[in-house]
């Protein structure tokens, strides 16, 4: 690997960031990639009674919590009694999308207010990009930075998103695949709801799945016949609902049966992600989007054909579902198999703590470290919410 492919995290700016993309209010302060403070005000208690996130309620809670979160973050970063914040912080960063429009609005408005008050530039950040980069976060105590071996494949799997992103350099992204309907998290949440698991159903489903047998029933594996790296969980959602109804007819849904169903559905969600991950790894040319056929993969696995060696040197996993141990184990297993067949070792990198898998402002501040001087927007008026922002298609304000 040439030296040009490596990049040392040299950025050392101090940035305060805000994320209000969904149901958690978060404010963080980072110096470089070191997390000085990361405050999260959870709204779980508010949304629990309904079993989902109402945009209007989320907005209200964000409005009530945001200033307290800023104060607490400044305090934890040791900045609360500084007279001139401007001397200690270089910029304010904020999530502009994707997310819930009314929720995003609160964070953006507050970030603009702070930037004006402290006379600091404001940086608009894409939430998915931030999830993709979240494995680069490092604890306050850690001083040594590692090198990155590009290109990197980032998997962002969360309640709202399921994406494969090829990171050629920070800021240079190619979306290889994404979900065409429901995200993985959404599917798990919906099935959790069908099983009356409460809120947040997805997280509870994960716990129950650990005690279940995933092999009692079979569910169809979607998207195997299409030539792309996209995901689809809508069919699985339907098949799961039919399976649950069918099982309900046969017997009482006792504790063990619920666990078995949870395990079955979860395994199927992850199987699809792994299936597409394998295809990406075995693709002879990602820039031309060459999709290896199932038969080729079969031959490679039988060691009848040699696997093409991918350019990808690292895999980063981010997003709420990234905290799932079963998913992590499956990915590691896939990489081990790939190494056996191709001779290439690819390392899996995760956020250093589970809390950075969920929505957080630390990853927003981290992403802002890489934004160029030009993208810092002193004309804050231009920054607006972009609820359905994608990675690669960048915000107008940047």
């Amino acid at each position: 690997m040439g030296k040009d492919k490596k990049m040392i995290l040299a950025a050392k700016k101090t940035i305060l960031a805000i994320d209000t993309s969904c149901d958690d209010t978060s404010v963080a302060v980072l110096e470089g990639n070191r997390v000085l403070a990361n405050v999260v005000a959870s709204q779980t208690a508010i949304h629990q009674q309904y079993g989902g996130v109402f945009p209007t309620l989320a907005k209200q809670a964000h409005q009530e919590n945001i200033e307290a979160c800023v104060q607490l973050a400044l305090q934890r970063a040791g900045l609360s009694n500084k007279l001139k914040i401007r001397d200690h912080i270089d910029a304010v960063a904020v999530t502009v999308g994707p997310g819930l429009a009314p929720a995003l609005e609160v964070g953006i408005k507050h970030a603009k207010k702070l930037a004006k008050q402290w006379q600091l530039p404001i940086i608009a950040i894409n939430h998915i990009e931030a999830h993709a980069l979240s494995p680069l976060l490092s604890p306050k105590t850690k001083r040594q930075n590692r090198e990155i071996d590009f290109p990197v494949l980032a998997l962002v799997i969360s309640g709202g998103h399921s994406e494969f992103i090829l990171i050629k350099q920070i800021g240079n992204y190619q979306r290889l695949g994404w979900t065409v309907d429901d995200s993985a998290g959404e599917c798990l949440d919906k099935v959790g709801r069908m099983l009356d698991l409460g809120y947040p159903a997805g997280a509870i489903l994960e716990k129950l799945a650990k005690k279940g047998n995933p092999n009692l029933w079979s569910l169809p594996l979607a998207m195997t016949s299409v030539d792309n790296f996209n995901l689809s969980f809508s069919g699985l959602k339907t098949a799961s609902s039919q399976l649950i109804n069918q099982v309900k007819k046969q017997k009482q849904l006792d504790g063990q049966t619920v666990c078995d169903l949870a395990a079955t559905v979860q395994q199927q969600v992850f199987s699809q992600i792994i299936y597409k991950l394998e295809r990406i790894l075995f693709s002879p040319d990602l820039s031309k989007k060459v999709y290896p056929k199932a038969q080729l993969i079969k031959k490679i696995k039988q060691q009848k054909t040699k696997a093409a060696v991918t350019d990808i040197n690292e895999i980063w996993l981010g997003g709420g579902v990234a905290a799932n141990i079963t998913l992590r184990t499956s990915i590691r297993q896939t990489l081990k198999t790939y190494q056996k067949l191709s001779g290439k070792k690819i390392k899996l990198h995760l956020p250093y703590h589970k809390k950075f898998c969920a929505d957080n402002a630390a990853m927003i501040a981290l992403t802002a470290q890489f934004s160029s001087e030009q993208s810092k927007n002193t004309n804050a008026q231009l920054i607006d919410r972009q609820a359905n922002l994608k990675i690669g298609t960048f915000c107008q304000a940047c």
């Binding site: 996130v53 945009p55 819930l100 429901d182 959404e186 919906k190 609902s241």
Partner: protein, 324 residues
């Protein structure tokens, strides 16, 4: 307003004349069915309408032929084309003489009153528009006929796009073989209700079990509105919003999933009554769960679809006036 559909320059002029159409397709007048068949594929449904109603004040929409050799801008964005066979000797003779169809759109400028004599037209158009007209045939005062009834026969069941087909059915039923029929229906229903959309917004209510194509329908609506983002199911957060721009038309497409909503108090948190206004579209999945929580005025304007089916077939029932 007649123009040669095979002539790009003529169509340029026509489209300039009829500006701000926002995707409303043109139609073509022919003299007989054989001529229509050069432009479109006439299926059994269409055949029935040709036999019963043409010549006469009906426009029958069919799938455009690939080799029709007309300017593509005459056809709809779904690859269909409306055909008329007028019941007016002068027109028929003119078409016969030319040997090809001519466009059959009305001469009024968009959003202006329906003209029944040449003066009505000339009084309502600009100098620039006047200069685009090459020839005026003045036959005096016309009979005050309604505009033609427009019937789309390109889906599994005929759908009237303008005017009413005389029928006693409370709903019409589509048998969808593919996602494209479900999406096509969504697109046609917005096109059909474009005037309502501009005036007060559109409300769609979809019911049906998981996996019958409700989100597919939403995707069709988004496609018509030229929304580029992927439309995903908003179960977790109830309501997604997408801003759209289609030609000069712009507004917000709201996609609401009521699957998890059981109580009126929950539904009221969404403040749905504030979402529906001119140029906005609100599409509600699991309509049957929340219909009773809606104020009557909203319920009345809803276009309601009931989807069912499994594997490769889907049945879609459509109520254009509120279901009881």
């Amino acid at each position: 307003m007649a123009a040669n559909p095979h002539d790009q320059q003529a169509i340029n002029k026509l489209l300039k004349y009829k500006n701000r159409r926002e995707g409303k397709p043109l139609s073509i007048a022919v003299s007989k069915q054989a001529m229509a068949e050069q432009y479109v594929i006439i299926n059994q449904q269409a055949q029935n309408f040709y036999q019963r109603f043409l010549p006469g004040p009906y426009t029958v929409i069919s799938q455009l032929r690939v080799n029709s050799q007309i300017d593509q801008r005459v056809a709809s964005e779904f690859g269909t084309l409306g055909i008329r066979i007028p019941d007016y000797p002068l027109m028929l003779k003119l078409i016969e003489h030319l040997g090809h169809g001519i466009t059959a759109t009305s001469a009024n400028a968009s959003n202006k009153k329906r003209p029944y004599r040449i003066k009505d037209v000339l009084n309502n158009i600009s100098e620039k528009q006047k200069q685009l007209i090459d020839l005026i045939i003045d036959v005096g005062q016309l009979a005050k006929n309604e505009p033609s009834v427009v019937i789309d026969t390109s889906l599994s069941t005929p759908l009237s796009m303008r005017g009413q087909l005389r029928t006693n059915d409370k709903f019409i039923e589509f048998n969808s073989q593919s996602e494209s029929e479900t999406q096509g229906l969504a697109m046609r229903l917005i096109l059909k209700n474009l005037n309502n959309l501009k005036k007060q917004g559109l409300l769609f209510g979809l019911s049906g079990e998981l996996g019958v194509g409700k989100t597919i329908f939403a995707k069709g609506a988004a496609k018509f509105l030229k929304i580029k983002e992927e439309i995903t199911s908003p179960t977790y957060t109830y309501l997604n919003e997408y801003t759209y721009q289609k030609g000069t038309l712009q507004g917000i497409f709201y996609h609401l999933d009521a699957w998890k909503i059981d109580q009126e108090q929950e539904f009221s948190l969404l403040k749905v009554d504030q979402l529906l206004k001119a140029n906005n579209i609100l599409l509600i999945e699991w309509w049957d769960k929340i219909a009773n929580f809606l104020p009557d005025n909203l319920k009345k304007q809803a276009i309601i679809l009931d989807l069912s089916g499994q594997d490769n077939w889907r049945k879609i029932k459509l109520w254009e006036k509120t279901k009881k």
